[in-house]
Symmetry: C2
Subunit: 338 residues, 2 copies
DNA sequence: TTGAAAGCGCTAACAT
DNA sequence: ATGTTAGCGCTTTCAA
């Protein structure tokens, strides 16, 4: 079903059909009607490939996340998909499997596919750099949540340091005078920032952090369980265990339960992200809520703005770094007061 | 960067460049080298839009799921994405938000985008029918997990009835003589089938199911909590609560804990899907494991086969219905024996 | 207000 | 073995 068939049936030229269907250009009311009728009868639908080739715009945005199965990224994907839908754009989703090499390949594919822009949460704090920068040089790109050093692209995320300040103040108010940090290896910006914020505020407040109380693994429930078990085995945990995300925290509280360590009585535990399952923990997790809706909306907005400015990094203005302020959600894994 | 520029630099025609780059057609080794060098130097990348227009193949597959945020569908998406990646295909992901109208729109968009095929888990057992059938008439389509009545398309999923038989036998062995069913409204095939399987085997085994012990809401933790609270308030739950998915089961066990009802001592609880969080429930959920990897692989295989046969339902052979056998995963929310 | 025609970048006949 | 060329379906000058 092509525009030519519609044109023939309506007895007009293809140009006219195009004008009617795209609503651009002057067409008499009578012809408009004829064309629309013909199109309806034939069940015509534009061929978006041909249109894309002609317009060099695909109305498609690519998104690359470290792991689809991480509930935090899933909900980000969901939000982005909805935000794009509002603008009539489609989402091409890629899973980098936390591997910078896979990530680089996916980015290249997206470029080859002529997506209008790319939203990426880089899987690695340094190794993702080259591919991200190269991609950003070719088309609008915004980094989401995580970012990679040595690049100059738009970014939307939260102020991890400010968030950690809130977490530490809350724990301190709950009586914590020593703390452990359980995160992933410091190879991505999220963990880096969160750890930095943790450490800084711990110092300020005089909360002791033994060097063996910094445990770095990955973002998973399993790692949380392992880390907690290790803390418990090695002479018992400190007053608080601060986790770099909710999955880890869920693992930590689970291991504590398994070992008969009371949370929050004996040790307070905090998560990060406020995924849906955070409230289902036993006890329900105190965590940091990231304004995901807002993050997704800003990312899509930035992309649209960049696209309007024209492709190619240099053509556009300086990059925007939008750090939203997350909020602390207090539940039952911490104490309200001493 | 076009093929023409590469051709000019290499001093050959565009046809030759195309032949070299696609590896089709005879080209002398010397020219091959010249072309490749030129392409590399220019950093040439195919324009997949132009290629798609020419070949009428996009190497893109569309996937529509009722809800991205449901962990079961998320993991299915992940598997499908990986399986497609192996064939050099991309995934265009759409969220139907459990709304047949949204779903119909997304399907239409995917058709307009000339995807090579569509994988859909219909959100509604009847209302999704028209759109799914229409889409299937136009291009290869396979239904995943759920299916919709009145359509004739390929389908891959599990045998829900067989799964429920296993569940009921296990509960019966654990001493259950009465049971409740908590699911979503019977508007999708999953719940329908599971409920049918539940009911049938309950009859066989002489397990009593009071009519007020069939509670239908939606696939969410909240609904599980509500339903369980209702069962507890109304004179106490039966010996077992069979849930149509893990989210519901997680809500049920949570409510039981909150109300001091021992699981599995006072009441046994089962889930379905074996999402990652199932093992994290308190107690860990006994549930039905769907072979997701296999489901995804079969779906992608069917799509490839259909594409090879040529587009348009009629052109292809009769549709395949592949029902895989799920397995029961016994954890701590049920009793091993009476 | 409408039509004719060029051309987006690529591939595959067909010709040499 | 290589080049010439038509054409995928659409939009947009330019001309009438």
């Amino acid at each position: 079903m092509t525009i030519a068939q519609v044109a023939e049936r309506a007895g007009v030229s293809t140009a006219t059909v195009s004008r009617v269907l795209s609503g651009r250009g002057p067409v008499s009311a009578a012809v408009q009607r004829r064309v629309r009728t013909a199109a309806d009868e034939l069940g015509y639908q534009v061929n978006s490939i041909a249109r894309a080739l002609r317009n060099s715009r695909t109305d498609t945005v690519g998104m690359v996340v470290p792991s689809i199965s991480n509930p935090f990224f899933t909900s980000l994907v969901e939000r982005v998909e909805h935000a794009l839908g509002r603008e009539g754009k489609e989402l091409l989703l890629c899973d980098a499997r936390s591997d910078p090499a896979v990530e680089a390949r996916r980015l290249a594919t997206l470029v080859a596919r002529n997506v209008d822009g790319i939203i990426v949460s880089p899987s690695h704090g340094t190794l993702s750099g080259a591919a991200v920068q190269e991609t950003a040089d070719r088309l609008p790109l915004v980094q989401l949540d995580r970012f990679v050093g040595g690049t100059s692209t738009d970014w939307v995320g939260v102020d991890d340091v400010a968030a950690m300040r809130q977490v530490m103040d809350h724990l301190h108010a709950g009586g914590a005078r020593s703390a452990a940090f359980v995160g992933s290896l410091l190879t991505n910006s999220s963990t880096e920032q969160r750890f930095a914020g943790f450490r800084r505020r711990a110092d300020d407040l005089g909360i002791a952090v033994a060097s063996e109380h910094v445990l770095l693994g990955d973002y998973s429930v399993e790692w949380g369980e392992t880390a907690a078990a290790r803390l418990i085995a090695a002479g018992g945990p400190p007053d608080a265990i601060v986790c770099a995300d909710d999955l880890i925290a869920l693992g930590v509280t689970r291991a504590c339960r398994a070992h008969g360590v009371d949370v929050p009585g004996r040790v307070q535990v905090t998560g990060y992200d406020n995924i849906e399952f955070a409230r289902l923990g036993e006890p329900a997790l105190t965590t940091v809520d990231q304004p995901r809706e807002r993050i997704a909306a800003e990312a899509v907005r930035l992309l649209a703005a960049a696209a309007a400015d024209g492709a190619g990094r240099e053509a556009r203005g300086p990059s925007a770094h939008i750090a939203l302020v997350p909020s602390l959600v207090v539940r039952d894994s911490t104490r309200a007061d001493a």
